[in-house]
């Protein structure tokens, strides 16, 4: 039942007074039903300029070939695969929030899942364009599919992790899209029923004729639960397989069995950082402070801390195994991360991902919006350097010293990368304009059990343990969206 009261010592997930069901709809749909504000236009202009740069640089690559990138015979993978792994990793947080946290019944996911899932889809689009363009002949991109052909048929090799990757990424993208869109249907219907004219027509088509009848909701919940159940192993498999692109090779620095868990943890780590980067701005610009509260921010920071520490342990393990293996190439590669010509990239990786993240142990840092946002940027940068270090440092000096080389990016490399960020933000900004950025129906579920006003009512009734009530009031002091004067005695 919706009226189930939860323990008073849990922080509220929806803050503010007089939040009714209608107000939830109103608040969340405000950016969709009104003209965008100035901040949106500025952001959109900058982002779409970036997207134009991306279109130009990718077209340039398609036209002239990947010789336009800074790759050479020794370093055959560089910014392209770095960007690919970085974007795929960012995507992972969305699925973690929508699937794994659903299975664990973490209700705080309800207000962040929608935008995090959208972020997943846009990040995977960015990632996919890297693999397609790095194929060199993108018009032959269908070759990794098991299609009958005129070479024999010479089939694709299912023993190859690169083929697994094609299957993993395409499945991941399509299942994420399906999960996201199915979840959007009730909210699209909410927009439809409030709109008029052409908008109603468009949202009517997009909402598939949703009515919210008992049977629809019942099946909808079954679908969401099972989709979460299959998405959970799926998301773990995706980055596992990405890591196998490296781990199944014989390259020093790549050939390690720790890669799958290490990559998955790193992916969730970087993904949550990107969610934080986006949501801290979104909540401010769209005025959603009551729905994305300090509790959400702190919870995400805690996940960043945990996954960052897992990544830290993985780094240490790598070093230990390099030493313990006795393999001189392996040992050199790891030493080279600090004393080689790319020492600065190694320092960025270890500094940003391990040292900086440990600051999250301090509550003051976890609950400061400004610091959290900066930390999220630091993690984004650090995780980009992690992939750069793994890929380029391992490749640039491996077995034969005569073939050692350096990698220097060209303007095309840089433009594709900067442009992909522009593309990502363009898609995200368009998303928050035309679709509800918070799952309306799911937030409504929290209103009677976990909102600040429902807890206020419980406090007013006075059947609460005084110590617990005190604890609850204390926990509210770090919220920026709570009127504290209401709690003074």
């Amino acid at each position: 039942m919706a009226s189930h009261n939860e323990s008073i010592i849990r922080e509220p997930l929806v803050t503010g007074d007089n939040i009714t069901y209608a107000k939830v709809t109103e608040d969340i749909l405000r950016p969709v039903e009104n003209m965008p504000n100035k901040a949106w236009w500025i952001g959109f202009t900058v982002a779409s300029l970036g997207a134009c740069l991306w279109v130009f640089a990718v077209s340039w690559t398609f036209w002239y070939g990947i010789g336009e990138w800074g790759l050479n015979k020794t370093v055959g993978w560089a910014w392209d695969i770095t960007g690919f792994v970085w974007w795929v990793g960012i995507g992972h947080a969305g699925t973690l929030i929508s699937a794994i946290l659903l299975l664990f019944r973490q209700n705080w996911r309800n207000s962040i899942n929608r935008s995090a899932e959208a972020m997943t889809i846009f990040a995977v689009i960015c990632a996919a364009t890297y693999v397609v363009s790095h194929m060199g002949r993108p018009w032959l991109a269908y070759w990794p599919l098991p299609l009958p052909n005129q070479f024999g048929s010479l089939w694709i090799n299912f023993n190859s992790p690169l083929v697994w990757d094609v299957f993993a990424i395409s499945t991941y993208f399509s299942v994420s899209l399906l999960f996201w869109y199915t979840g959007l249907l009730p909210d699209m219907a909410a927009i439809r029923d409030r709109a008029t004219g052409i908008r109603r027509r468009i949202y009517s088509i997009c909402s598939f004729g949703w009515t919210g009848s008992v049977k629809t909701w019942q099946r909808f919940e079954a679908v969401c639960l099972i989709l979460a159940g299959v998405s959970t192993p799926l998301v773990l498999s995706v980055h596992t397989i990405v890591s196998m692109d490296f781990a199944t090779s014989l390259e020093p620095g790549w050939h390690t069995t720790i890669f799958p868990p290490y990559f998955v943890a790193g992916a969730i780590f970087s993904g949550f950082a990107m969610v934080q980067t986006l949501l801290l701005i979104t909540r401010k610009v769209l005025g959603l402070e009551n729905y994305i509260t300090m509790f959400h921010i702190e919870a995400m920071n805690k996940i960043i801390l945990v996954t960052g520490s897992i990544v830290g342990v993985a780094y240490l393990t790598e070093f230990f195994i390099a030493y313990y293996s006795g393999g001189e190439y392996e040992q050199y590669t790891f030493l080279n991360r600090f004393i080689g010509p790319y020492w600065w990239a190694g320092c960025m990786m270890y500094g940003c991902n391990v040292l900086m993240t440990q600051l999250m142990w301090f509550k003051g840092i976890r609950t400061s919006i400004r610091v959290s946002w900066m930390m999220s940027i630091v993690v984004n940068i650090g995780m980009w350097f992690e992939r750069f270090v793994i890929i380029v440092i391992s490749l640039h000096r491996d077995f034969v010293p005569s073939s050692w080389a350096m990698f220097y990016p060209t303007w095309v490399d840089m433009s594709v990368f900067i442009g992909s960020i522009g593309l990502f933000f363009t898609m995200f900004l368009l998303f928050i304009r035309v679709m509800p950025s918070i799952a309306i129906a799911e937030v409504k579920l929290l209103l009677k059990s976990s909102s600040e006003q429902s807890k206020k009512k419980i406090l007013a009734e006075g059947h609460v343990d005084a110590e617990q009530a005190e604890f609850y009031k204390e926990s509210l002091t770090r919220f920026d969206s709570v009127e504290l004067s209401a709690y003074e005695k």
């Binding site: 039942m1 919706a2 009226s3 069901y21 209608a22 709809t25 098991p146 024999g152 048929s153 010479l154 089939w155 694709i156 090799n157 299912f158 023993n159 992790p161 697994w164 299957f167 993993a168 499945t171 399509s174 299942v175 399906l178 199915t182 249907l185 009730p186 219907a189 909410a190 029923d193 409030r194 009517s204 088509i205 909402s207 598939f208 004729g209 949703w210 009515t211 919210g212 009848s213 008992v214 049977k215 629809t216 909701w217 019942q218 099946r219 909808f220 079954a222 679908v223 099972i226 989709l227 299959v230 998405s231 192993p233 799926l234 498999s237 309306i440 129906a441 409504k444 579920l445 009677k448």
Partner: protein
């Protein structure tokens, strides 16, 4: 003869609406359907709606997906064109697991969701059969088929007493058709 086709009881609170369902059932008024802006657990039990069988569909689609890709892999790499990779066997099952897993998930997800859309008649362009426009916003709507339930006033009274904020007598089944 009254032109009313459907009687709608509009509630502003899910728990009050549940009492409304109880009250109607106590008076043996059959309920046509209930429309809510969010999933409310327990209505399906009260209305005697059986649990969803989509889980079985999902399982079958998963089996289908796994078998399909495994058969493709077996045919291509073992039967049609086995490759000699260092003299190792062509039928390398562990290497076939990733692709098999991915298609199992892919078929499960799409098969189940398409079954759901099919069963509930959801598809792009479907005319929304909405009885009250606020049912996706802040109203919890109990719909009662007016035909056969002669005493409309009595139903109205039951709903009002149960706490309905508004009771509507709709002449049309769906308000959303233009």
């Amino acid at each position: 003869m009254s032109k009313t086709k459907f009687i709608l009881g509009l509630f502003d609170d899910p728990d009050v609406m549940m009492h409304g369902i109880d009250a109607l059932q106590k008076n043996s008024v059959p309920i046509y359907d209930v429309y809510t802006p969010m999933p409310i657990h327990g209505i399906d039990d009260k209305l005697g709606i059986k649990g969803s069988r989509l889980g079985y569909a999902a399982f079958m689609f998963g089996i289908l997906g796994g078998t399909t890709i495994f058969s493709i892999i077996y045919y291509t790499l073992v039967h049609d064109w086995p490759m000699n990779i260092g003299g190792k066997p062509a039928f390398t099952v562990p290497n076939f697991i990733p692709a098999t897993f991915e298609w199992t998930v892919l078929f499960t997800a799409f098969g189940m969701t398409i079954t759901f859309f099919f069963a509930n008649h959801l598809f792009p362009g479907r005319a929304p059969r909405v009885m009250d426009l606020r049912a996706t916003d802040d109203r919890f709507v109990i719909a009662i088929d007016a035909k056969g339930n002669v005493s409309h006033d009595e139903i109205t009274n039951i709903l009002k007493e149960a706490g309905a904020v508004e009771v509507k007598h709709n002449d049309r089944k769906y308000v959303s058709y233009e």
